[in-house]
């Protein structure tokens, strides 16, 4: 999977790139408008992460250009401008998603996976690990071939874990993923724990072990 990152902020770019390479994506990173436009002119990408405020121009113009050249590229706008205008115009131009800085890398990961899943019609639409099969389009999950009843939030949580498997995801990123802006108001993470407890109970491996481990109060890790 090839990903283009257009982001002018050095340290944030470095974090994203090292994170994406860890996830075994091929990631190219450019830091201004001109090189960004150049890249999309020459290459095709599966997904592009584009910052709006760039030296030399607006990321929205790059979005426009990508949509004009290659419909198949998934686009996620990343911007610190928490303004509704940018969000609306970005999505109007054909961006698949919009992420406001600061974001959790695990959230970015989950969004990229979701965009790729939606874009990649030829590929498998199912996620399978061990005895569990997830069909995201139908919001369905099968454990040991048996249908498991999950609430919408539990399903979303599971998908988030699966997207970030073998990684520690923080409680904050889980809360934000599930409740968005409302997560700001949550002052106790206890009920996230109760959520995870429920999810754990519902999906166990053949031996009855859980896939989700807590990591020293900082978050949780989904591993197989």
């Amino acid at each position: 999977m090839k990903i283009l990152l257009v982001e002018d902020e050095l340290t944030l770019g470095e974090s994203i790139v090292s994170f994406l390479r860890n996830e075994e994506y091929i990631c190219e990173w450019v830091r201004n408008f001109d090189t960004g436009s150049e890249k999309i002119f020459i290459y095709e990408y599966d997904c592009a992460l584009i910052d709006i405020t760039l030296p030399g121009g607006s990321g929205l113009d790059i979005v426009k250009e990508i949509k004009r050249r290659n419909q198949k590229t998934g686009i996620i706008i990343i911007s610190a401008k928490n303004s509704l205008d940018d969000k609306i115009s970005g999505l109007d131009l054909g961006a698949d998603d919009y992420l406001t800085k600061p974001f959790h890398l695990s959230e970015l990961n989950s969004r990229i996976k979701s965009v790729l899943r939606r874009r990649n019609f030829e590929g498998s639409k199912e996620i399978i690990f061990k005895n569990i099969r997830i069909i995201p389009d139908r919001h369905e999950i099968l454990a040991n071939g048996k249908h498991v009843n999950l609430t919408k939030k539990e399903f979303s949580l599971l998908l988030f874990f699966v997207s970030n498997k073998n990684r520690v995801v923080t409680k904050e990123s889980i809360a934000e993923h599930l409740w968005g802006d409302d997560a700001d108001m949550i002052d106790s993470f206890d009920f996230i724990y109760s959520h995870i407890k429920n999810l754990r109970k519902k999906i166990l491996d053949e031996k009855g072990n859980t896939f989700i481990q807590s990591v020293y109060g900082i978050g949780y890790k989904f591993s197989i």
């Binding site: 944030l12 520690v168 409302d182 108001m185 009920f191 020293y216």
Partner: protein, 417 residues
């Protein structure tokens, strides 16, 4: 009261007073002049009579004298000259008429005569009446025509002022187009328009730079925070970390997270204060509340809160979508947060109010300070203490009334649209 009405009233009152004083003065003056003239005439006639007596050495026959009534009677002794006003019965008019009489002695030979010259005063009264009536008539015509003239002139003169006023009323700070005035010839209005143009330009520019500042500040602060967070997220993936180190990282991470939330909330508050959410849409309150309750279902279930919805009537509010979302989200989440486990939460929706009631322990914050910034019951809690300030700020933006009471174990937040 309109400027024109006020000027007209002032004009009317002052000119009426002026005309009245002028009229009275004129009347008094006229009377005095006529009065003096009369007396003078009487003395002239007296001179004539005396001349006649000296010249002809005889007393004139009273019937010989035309005009004023002169009576001559024989007197016995010399008497002093008398000038007086008196009423004399007129057999023709059958009424008493006012006369001025001059009575004086004449000596012819050894005889004394008393001459009485009576001059009717009603002639002068008629004259005064006539003059006064004309005066009133002319005054009235002048008053009325001047009134309309000044009105017309004022209207014409103040026209640029009203044009400016109209432009100011339609002035929108959030829009970037400058105020454009039609050219005026009156220099005061020209100066006023120039000053207003400069002022509005400055206001718009300040507003713009403030807006840019909030956005830039957000950008500048959020980015380093994002970096801190992402670096920690990368770091915690490391397998070689010791539990102690993870614990330290957790604290750093949580603090940076809180700082980020705080920054976002403060910026949101600033943006609401600056009226930076001008776009409005019709918001169905009932639908929005249902949506919010749906989103917060897990939180409600977790605390085993019993939710009671009393929707008697739904209202449609003209609000910014984002702000409406935050407003209802914040009051509902606040109610959930401060509910005890297995508590009760009721949301009452009427045509012009929303009342959110939840059972819970009384707040440590005095009710009047509840909506202040950074007021929170539990200082160690994760919340920013800005949630209700944001609610209040949104309410202020839309002129909603917000009210909080604690009554019999229930927190009650009411918003009146």
């Amino acid at each position: 009261m309109k400027l024109l009405t006020k000027t007209s009233i002032y004009y009317l009152v002052f000119s009426l007073i002026l005309f009245l004083i002028g009229g009275i003065f004129f009347y008094i003056q006229l009377r005095e002049i006529l009065d003096d003239e009369f007396t003078e005439n009487l003395y002239k006639e007296k001179e004539l009579v005396l001349q006649y007596v000296t010249d002809s050495s005889k007393i004139p026959d009273s019937s010989n004298l035309i005009g004023d009534k002169i009576t001559i009677s024989q007197g016995t002794q010399p008497l002093n000259e008398i000038l007086k006003d008196t009423l004399i019965f007129d057999p023709v008019e059958i009424e008493f008429l006012q006369y001025r009489q001059l009575i004086f002695p004449v000596k012819s030979g050894n005889n004394f005569f008393v001459v009485t010259i009576s001059k009717p005063l009603f002639e002068s009264e008629d004259l005064i009446d006539g003059v006064i009536w004309w005066f009133i008539l002319i005054s009235a015509v002048m008053l009325i025509s001047l009134f309309f003239l000044t009105r017309l002139l004022s209207k014409k003169m103040w026209k640029p002022f009203y044009g400016t006023l109209n432009l100011l009323q339609n002035f929108d700070i959030t829009k970037n187009d400058p105020v454009s005035f039609a050219s005026v010839k009156i220099s005061e209005f020209k100066i006023m328009n120039d000053e207003i143009r400069k002022m509005t330009y400055k206001i718009q520019r300040d507003y713009q730079s403030l807006k840019e500042f909030t956005e830039n500040a957000s950008h500048e602060i959020q980015t380093p925070l994002a970096i801190i967070r992402s670096k920690i997220e990368l770091l915690i993936q490391s397998e070689s970390l010791l539990p102690v180190q993870l614990g330290l990282l957790k604290d750093v991470y949580e603090s940076s997270h809180r700082l980020s939330k705080l920054n976002q909330s403060l910026l949101l508050l600033a943006k609401i204060e600056n009226r930076q959410f001008p776009e409005t849409k019709n918001i169905d309150v009932k639908k929005l509340i249902e949506e919010k309750l749906d989103q917060l279902e897990e939180m409600i279930d977790y605390k085993n809160i019993i939710v009671k919805k009393i929707f008697t009537d739904s209202s449609v509010l003209k609000m910014n979508t984002y702000l409406a979302d935050i407003l209802f989200s914040n009051i509902i989440i606040n109610a959930i947060k401060h509910s005890e486990c297995k508590g009760k939460l009721s949301i009452e929706l009427n045509t012009n109010s929303v009342i959110v009631t939840n059972s819970g322990l009384p707040s440590e914050i005095p009710p009047e300070k509840l909506f202040d910034r950074f007021k929170k019951g539990n200082t160690s809690s994760e919340s920013t203490g800005l949630g209700l300030s944001i609610v209040k700020q949104i309410c202020m933006t839309y002129n909603f009334q917000i009210q909080y009471v604690y009554h019999e174990g229930n927190h009650k937040v009411s918003i009146f649209f």
